[in-house]
Amino acid sequence: MNILVCITHVPDTTSKIRFTDENTQLDKAGVQFIIGPYDDYALARAVEIKEQTGGSISVLNVGEAETEPTLRKALAIGADEAIRVNAFPRDAHFVAKQIAHQAKEKSYDMILMGRESIDFNGGMVHGMVGELLGIPSISPVMKLEIEGNTAKMAREIEGGKEFIEVGLPFIAGCQEPIAEWKIPNMRGIMSARSKPLQVVDAVSADPRTATKTYELPAPKGEVKIVADVDQLVQLLKNDAKIL
């Protein structure tokens, strides 16, 4: 199987989010960047599928040079080659156009993505690429098995799951427990250095949305610690007016 895995380069889940330049830019000072956790599930499952079926894994990121260490990490985890589309990922539509263009050039058996990026949380890029390529896109996928030319998957729905069968090629937006995150080992890290990381130009695509000013949520007030449940019930009833 030839698998394309699309990864984001995002602040670690424990990062404190701040903005600079009059709230028009993310403040990257002290922020650790990682492979998006959902993309990490997609990559882990791709590595397992490759172990079973053979083939090759390409990882792709649409981003500027700063994302290369994140692509190298994906190579260390088990991808065979990396592609960086050299552009600032202006919006989901712009990114989807880049991914679709790359996918049209090569013919992948499947494209695995994360269910959503954890910076903009859109959950949109996989559906857009699916529509651009005219192939099915399924998300969020929590189980994925390949049997011949058919993919069998479980998609999470509210309160349960749906079982889906689809022919190749397809796109899946992945989430746990599709696979366990893989930590690169020493051999992986060493070999990642010599694996190809190709930088390609972006194709032209109009972004359709524009981020303007950022804002942080209002700070939370002090917690009120109560002595017993009766006091809690009174507060919920009289102050919060919930019960």
């Binding site: 889940t13 424990t14 989010i17 956790p37 989901a92 539509h93 989807a96 954890i118 949380n121 859109g122 959950g123 949109m124 996989h126 559906g127 857009m128 699916g130 529509e131 192939i135 099915p136 896109s137 399924i138 969020p140 998609r155 999470e156 729905i157 509210e158 309160g159 349960g160 799951k161 749906e162 079982f163 889906i164 069968e165 689809v166 746990e176 427990p177 359709r208 949305t209 524009a210 981020t211 303007k212 000013t213 950022y214 804002e215 942080l216 949520p217 939370k220 007030g221 917690v223 009120k224 610690i225 109560v226 017993d228 449940v229 809690l232 019930v233 919920l236 009833k237 919060a240 019960l243």
Partner: protein, 322 residues
């Protein structure tokens, strides 16, 4: 603006998040001038159709093709695009959900539209079209402009109140072409808890963490949830360990909830868990460790043993409701 609202149903009932989306559409129509059409795919119970009108619909369309009852992403996208053209819409509004996101993304391409997800308020129309959306898993917001003629807005749960004073509107049934090609992904089976409050839709959530020691101790969580008519949630280790089903897992990598009340029992309050609950209106934390980080994110807290406190709380709530 001519607005189309795509709604979702769960076992024949219109979801509350969809009623919020209709109400949002009505408020947007009022602000911009224009009308709101609502599209339901699959079968919707008659009494629920009234709720759609009350939430502010001017027209209701239904495509009662049974093949659309479950969430077939491509088929839904295909159908919504047809109806969008039919009613001459220029804006599509829907509730953010696992199905809504997937359908909206495909529609953004079909309709050449600018799509904004996680919308938390009405747009500012004074200089174009600018809406606020939640980003970084609830840690921030950003004002986002849409530059395309056609617009799609996916509304975050519990950010727009449900309107109830609209008029009841008759339903127009549509029969539209639905080719087999949009069913390339086949749903072969479904597993779904029945009769439970859906977690992403819930007004109250009772959630348990690893501090509860094992699945055998979930009875008291279930009792409390039942007394409150709440949905049940859990932390990631609890679903990783198989104590609770995965769809109850709340947080950064799980379900993001936005209830009026979130009750966290024996959950430490790791930043990744908080990311899924920070949009809750009120948070109550029950934890035996006074230094548990969750207290910093809480409105009300009780320090103590969950095994003593939770049953007492259930009794107190039952007493209050009598």
């Amino acid at each position: 603006m001519s607005i189309l609202v795509y709604i979702e149903q769960d076992q024949g009932k219109v979801k509350n998040s969809s009623l919020e989306a209709i109400s949002y559409g009505a408020a947007l129509a009022e602000k911009s001038g224009g009308k709101v059409s609502v599209l339901g795919l699959g079968s919707v119970a008659d009494e629920d159709l009234d709720l759609i009108g009350q939430a502010g619909a001017d027209a209701i369309y239904q495509v009662a093709d049974e093949r659309l009852n479950s969430g077939v992403i491509q088929a839904h996208a295909y159908m919504v695009a047809q109806v969008y053209d039919l009613v001459g819409a220029n804006t599509l509004v829907l509730a953010k959900s696992s199905l809504g996101d997937a359908v909206a993304a495909r529609l953004a391409i079909k309709l050449n539209a600018g799509l904004v997800s996680n919308v938390v308020g009405l747009p500012d129309l004074s200089a174009g079209f600018v809406v606020k959306r939640s980003i970084f898993t609830g840690k921030a917001f950003v004002e986002t402009g849409i530059e395309a003629e056609n617009k799609i807005l996916a509304i975050k749960k519990n950010t727009h109140p449900i309107k109830t004073d609209g008029a009841v509107v008759p339903v127009e049934k549509l029969t539209l072409d639905l080719p087999d090609t949009v069913f390339a992904a086949k749903i072969t089976d479904m597993e779904k808890a029945s009769g439970e409050v859906l977690l992403p839709e819930a007004d109250i959530v009772v959630s348990g963490g690893r501090g509860l020691n094992g699945p055998e101790n979930w009875g008291m969580i279930e009792d409390l949830a039942e007394a409150l008519k709440a949905a049940k949630g859990c932390s990631k280790p609890v679903s990783d360990l198989g104590w609770r089903p995965h769809h109850e897992h709340v947080g950064q990598t799980g379900v993001k909830v936005a209830p009026a009340l979130y009750i966290a029992v024996a959950i430490s309050g790791a930043i990744q868990h908080l990311a899924g609950v920070n949009a809750s209106r009120y948070i109550v934390v029950i934890n035996k460790d006074p230094d548990a980080p969750f207290f910093k994110a809480a409105d009300y807290g009780i320090v103590g043993d969950a095994f003593e406190i939770v049953p007492k709380l259930t009794e107190a709530i039952k007493a209050l409701k009598q």
